[in-house]
């Protein structure tokens, strides 16, 4: 039994049969602590699959199970990060990162007595992502890349067992993005939580993930998976090695074959 099991899931947006069929017959297994990347053509239902795992949408058919239990309502053990940093502009970086602690159980009940502990936690996370000293800044005082780092902290502060990342680096320039690959890899090596990363960038998928899953165009289905057995920690140098390049090429091919003509 896998940690996350997606079995023959269909998802149709809108109640009627005329609604958009976003995902159809998707099946996927993710192990505890695994780092998985999800790639596929635009609009194929990658974000939808993340929402299915998080329990934010209910499958129209099929089943999603997390640690053996069917997901019927939003899971409370996930952290999420998106393409837009979506930091709250009226809160400092520290207070933004603390947000999940104010909302999620059991943290919200112990918010007062854990004040010092939480501060220390935020500081530790900020140090991990290279934002030491920025805790009291406002979001707009940070660059896009720094905001994404802060967003990663927010996604991790309540120590979720699953981290769902929806193209978190897509809006960044290449250099910033590649910096953040290594930041994310370090976070994962350190925390070992289960990560599902949606991305358009195949190099990013191969650099970061243990397994890359390829989806077909809409309605999305999983058509191929490729495990990446390159030693960690991977570096930018790794991305130029023949083994790495081969995997990227293979995936590119799989995606273009998966596009229905």
């Amino acid at each position: 039994m896998s940690f996350i099991e997606i079995r023959n899931v269909d998802l149709r947006y809108g109640s009627s049969a005329s609604g958009t069929l976003a995902v159809s017959g998707a099946s996927l297994d993710i192990e505890l602590g695994e780092f998985v990347a999800l790639v596929g053509p635009s609009g194929c239902g990658k974000s939808t699959l993340l929402k299915l795992i998080a329990g934010l949408v209910k499958p129209s058919a099929g089943q999603v199970r997390v640690s053996g239990r069917e997901v019927t309502e939003p899971l409370k053990t996930v952290g999420m990060a998106f393409q837009n940093a979506t930091l709250l502009p009226w809160r400092t970086i520290r207070d933004n990162i603390m947000l999940p602690l104010e909302i999620a159980e059991p943290h919200r009940r112990t918010l007062k007595q854990d004040r010092e502990k939480n501060r220390a936690k935020v500081d530790a996370l900020l140090e991990k992502v290279g934002l030491t000293g920025f805790a009291e800044r406002m979001p707009w005082q940070l660059s896009g890349g720094m905001q994404q780092r802060a967003q990663l902290c927010r996604a991790l502060i309540h120590e979720p067992s699953i981290l769902l990342l929806d193209e978190p680096f897509a809006a960044l320039d290449t250099f910033t993005r590649e910096d953040l690959w290594s930041v994310l890899q370090d976070l994962w090596l350190f925390r070992k939580c289960t990560i599902v990363l949606v991305t358009h960038e195949l190099r990013e998928a191969v650099y970061l993930a243990q397994t890359v899953h390829v989806m077909s165009s809409r309605p999305g289905r999983l058509i191929k998976n490729r495990s990446v057995e390159i030693a960690r920690p991977r570096t930018l140098e790794t991305t130029f090695e023949p083994g790495f390049v081969d995997i990227v090429h293979g995936l590119r091919q799989a995606i273009s074959e998966g596009k229905t003509p």
Binding site: P89, W90, L99
Partner: protein, 260 residues
């Protein structure tokens, strides 16, 4: 002179030019005082009738502030409800928009029949004119919350209340303050209109009585008071807005103009 100070005095210069034009029109076309008084006659009337102008001005101000206060509380509550529930939005918003396009001046006679001449119809008119921008702006702020944030909050197990308290209300503050500026001005318009149509006190009533006596200088003096009060209240809320929502200086909060 630096361009900053030039910018600061520019509106005063414009005002001065307009007053000069006003005066010039009277001199050139030899307009009589019972048609259009000169700036000097207006000032004189302002001084001569300073006590009635002040008491009636205060009365109008009270009406305006009360109508505005009710509009703010009601508008904020309705804006939150309409903005955070899709069903409430569908059920209520079209009705509010339809109501907003009714000319409120036409309702004053009805209010007078129901509540008699005076204070109550004026407060209600002020309220009716000013609640819409508050509702619209707050609802806009709520309904434009990024879907990702909603997902994030739901995934953390946040309740609807958490969503409103932690995200909705702080996010709507700049929109709310922007709407207050408009609401206070409209509320003021509302109370003056009601006083003109069906009032027995207030600056609007002063204007009505003065114009039926052909006391044009007093009408204009009352207009000056009305203008001064309107600008003053707008400025007050403008300063307040800037103080309270400094975090949003980078954001552009929208403002929705109201109807009459």
């Amino acid at each position: 002179m630096s361009s900053k100070t030039l910018e600061r005095i520019a509106p005063w210069v414009t005002t001065l030019i307009l007053v000069l034009l006003w005066w010039l029109v009277i001199v050139v076309f030899d307009v009589k005082a019972y048609i259009l008084p000169t700036p000097g006659e207006t000032l004189q009337a302002l001084y001569q009738y300073r006590y009635p102008l002040m008491t009636n001005g205060l009365s109008t101000l009270t009406t305006t502030v009360i109508g505005f206060g009710i509009a703010v509380v009601f508008g904020l509550a309705l804006g939150i409800i309409v903005g955070s529930s899709r069903l409430a939005y569908c059920a209520v918003y079209p009705v509010i928009v339809a109501f907003n396009s009714v000319p409120k001046a036409a309702l004053v006679p009805i209010l007078v029949v129901w509540f008699g001449l005076g204070f109550v119809p004026a407060v209600i008119t002020a309220f009716m004119l000013s609640f819409f921008p508050v509702v619209a702006n707050v609802a806009l702020a709520f309904s434009t919350i990024e879907p990702e944030l909603t997902e994030l909050m739901r995934s953390l197990g946040g309740s609807r209340r958490d969503m409103i308290v932690k995200i909705g209300i702080p996010r709507s503050l700049p929109y709310f303050f922007a709407s207050l500026k408009i609401a206070i001005t409209l509320s003021f318009v509302g109370s003056v209109i009601a006083e003109i149509i069906g009032g027995n006190t207030g600056i609007g009533n002063v204007m009505l009585v003065a114009s039926s006596n052909f006391n044009m200088p007093l009408v204009f003096a009352a207009l000056v008071v009305v203008g001064g009060l309107g600008i003053g209240m707008y400025a007050l809320f403008d300063v307040w807005e800037r103080r309270f929502t400094s975090w949003s200086v980078r954001d552009v909060a929208s403002t929705t103009p109201g109807g009459g």
